[in-house]
Point group: C2
């Protein structure tokens, strides 16, 4: 079978998965979820015309020929309701957020006035009707849609939900994800150390990648290279919405996993992607489960999760943003590349006067997890590149540890 391009394989995966239905969550537990209903305003905000500044509420006609002296008839604070009507020649002292009194149609900022006495103020600037007034409903109007279904619930969105007093609402359900490692060579977390075996890091690294998406995966353990045992494990895995099977580097994967998966009714969509690391990536579906056959190499399987599994899970959760944020970086050194496969190089980012600078995190062997642990991002080398030279620009996908940075990084 041919090796698919990364984007073609991504498209096949994303065309195969969809949202899984909705559930109600409480506001306090909703961060990171995606709204499955649109949310309407339950009030006008501001509830009436309010002052946008500390100053004086005036009739704009009165101040056309400023400077002019006006009588102060009232003090209005935020939370107060005005009690007096501003007549010609009058004004009310007003605080930011306080309701505009009847009669007034504009606000003069305190810095454009000179208070003459307790009861009179000189206005030194003419303003138009509506100056420094926030109109009723300017922020939101009763019944107006303020958040569309499909909105990801960020802290700012939670602020809006609280503003319209949405104590609970519908969000897309999270997929249930199972993780299975396979291979006789694997040593489980609770097994004694055996130098002839390889510790099963994949179960936990994949678990963490799934947790980072807000999903608590179920760890099925290690299936040995035995068709009966493997079938039992895979049957269990096919009860979930998504099953991640990471194969060993040994015979197991190719000998047992594929035929057993197909025997259990999984329709395979592809088995090879033209990427490095990660090319023995497989994907298939049943009518209820999406199955990813991930490489046994720890780095390879993690890269496949970033490029294929995470976008699929995010789509299932209703997100429209499926891909890692990217930045452009100039290369600190040459990077070799053999034509043929898109390469995802583990890279660290620093900064110089021009912007980001990327350097690779030591050995790029797909067996060396430290390269991934140290990486700020995955630097992408296009398949047809003959290698990149120091100073060239490349695209870097930011990984979890790179959401924050060492320095504030802005000129204040």
């Amino acid at each position: 079978m041919e090796h698919l391009q990364v984007s073609v394989a991504q498209r096949i995966v994303l065309e195969s998965v969809a949202t899984l239905g909705v559930e109600s969550v409480k506001l306090e537990q909703s961060l990171g979820r995606v709204l499955a209903e649109s949310i309407c305003a339950n009030r006008d905000l501001p509830p009436y015309d309010v002052s946008a500044m500390d100053g004086f509420a005036v009739r704009s006609a009165d101040v056309m020929n400023a400077p002019v002296t006006l009588e102060i008839i009232e003090d209005i604070k935020a939370g107060d309701m005005p009690t007096k009507i501003v007549q010609a020649g009058q004004c009310s002292r007003i605080m930011t957020g306080a309701p505009l009194p009847q009669g007034a149609d504009a606000v003069i900022r305190v810095e454009d006035t000179q208070v003459e006495s307790h009861t009179s103020v000189q206005i030194v600037k003419a303003v138009k009707c509506g100056n420094d007034v926030r109109s009723q409903g300017e922020g939101m109007k009763t019944g107006e849609v303020v958040l569309l279904a499909g909105t990801e619930i960020t802290p700012g969105v939670i602020g809006i939900l609280a503003t319209v007093k949405a104590a609970h609402f519908a969000v897309y359900r999270r997929p249930r994800v199972a993780i299975l490692s396979t291979g006789n060579e694997l040593e489980g977390m609770d097994d004694p150390v055996d130098p002839n075996k390889i510790p099963d890091s994949n179960t936990y690294a994949l678990m963490a990648q799934i947790q980072a998406l807000g999903i608590a995966p179920v760890l099925l353990g290690i299936a040995r290279d035995d068709p009966i045992e493997l079938e039992q494990y895979l049957r269990r895995g096919l009860e979930f919405d998504v099953l991640l099977v990471s194969g060993g580097t040994s015979v197991g994967v190719h000998d047992y996993v594929r035929p057993t998966i197909e025997k259990l009714g999984v329709q395979m969509k592809f088995w090879r992607v033209a990427m490095k690391p990660g090319h023995p990536l497989a994907f298939g579906t049943t009518n209820k489960t999406a199955v990813f056959g991930l490489p046994g190499n720890p780095v390879s399987s993690m890269v496949c999760v970033e490029e294929f599994v995470a976008p699929a899970l995010r789509q299932m959760m209703g997100n429209s943003r499926l891909h890692r944020r990217t930045v452009e970086a100039s290369l600190a050194h040459d990077i070799k590349h053999q034509i043929g496969r898109t390469e995802f190089v583990r890279a660290q980012l620093t900064r110089n006067a021009e912007g980001y600078v990327a350097s690779t995190t030591g050995t790029q062997s797909s067996g060396v997890l430290l390269s991934m642990a140290k990486a700020d991002g995955l630097l992408i080398i296009p398949a047809e590149s003959k290698g990149l030279a120091a100073g060239e620009q490349a695209t870097v996908q930011l990984l979890d540890g790179a959401v924050f940075q060492d320095e504030a990084g802005f000129r204040e």
Copy 2:
């Protein structure tokens, strides 16, 4: 009191807070935490010299004058131990990851060979000693420090922890955070709608910002503008490691919060920062609690959390990366700015051929939370700028919703 520069205020905050002690966590619950101990390798990886390729294990001296034909004495798969010693004129077929047999000192890739029969192969390329061999301990050596204390636990780090079978380990404790809203004008989530009141969105927006850092804050509720009630609430808040008090826009903040806080033994470090939105930001400490007095405006308080509270909390959790990731973006349109305060403009990011393009999210009034809900980031206008013109470059801090993006965004 003077208005502090943002960076000066940040430094005061960060000099006032430190890590809070350590606790043990299980590997499965450790994502996002920070290691409080260094982690050593418990084994050599690979455990012996292994092949880095599928091919033939040879004596390099034998292939010096390639092409040469060698006798195949054994097949070694990953997980197998070799049983035969490679003598002069001999080789063993070997799979990636399989142990190098005694006698052999190099691997020839299968593509540099021509198999002649079941028992003989022609080697067409000379290689040096060590070719395509991963040496014992190349990945990690027993006793060697593989992760330093202070490392943030990302999925890649969890892979390393699983590799060395660290089932539990010491991490820095998370701060306990309390959130208090103040002001008569506030309407609680469970109160009936009153058009004369403002819904208390701050409690929930701040909650979500703290949750996004991996901390479950305690919501103290709304303290009214009454010195006795306020004191009770503040006393409760001062039992936590961090107390966030958001004031109303009304008299409450300035009349009661500051004197009550000081009466309760909080030593105030500053009360004003030269930023917009957010300038009435206060910060103080007791011997156990860091207290942030946040503006009542929803956007202002969220910006203050991003710039001051989040870095402080991350430092308390042992992180070395305290600040939001920044990217440079060119402006889609002019942005006005009055000299004097550093401005944090809510901005959306798109992309053109040159890179990121930023545009503001509608009205920048600090009362309009929708601007924050729609923002990908905070675009920073330096205090002394006279305004930015379309096409100029500016720095944008990426917010939570911008960790992922719409498109893959790389050339494959």
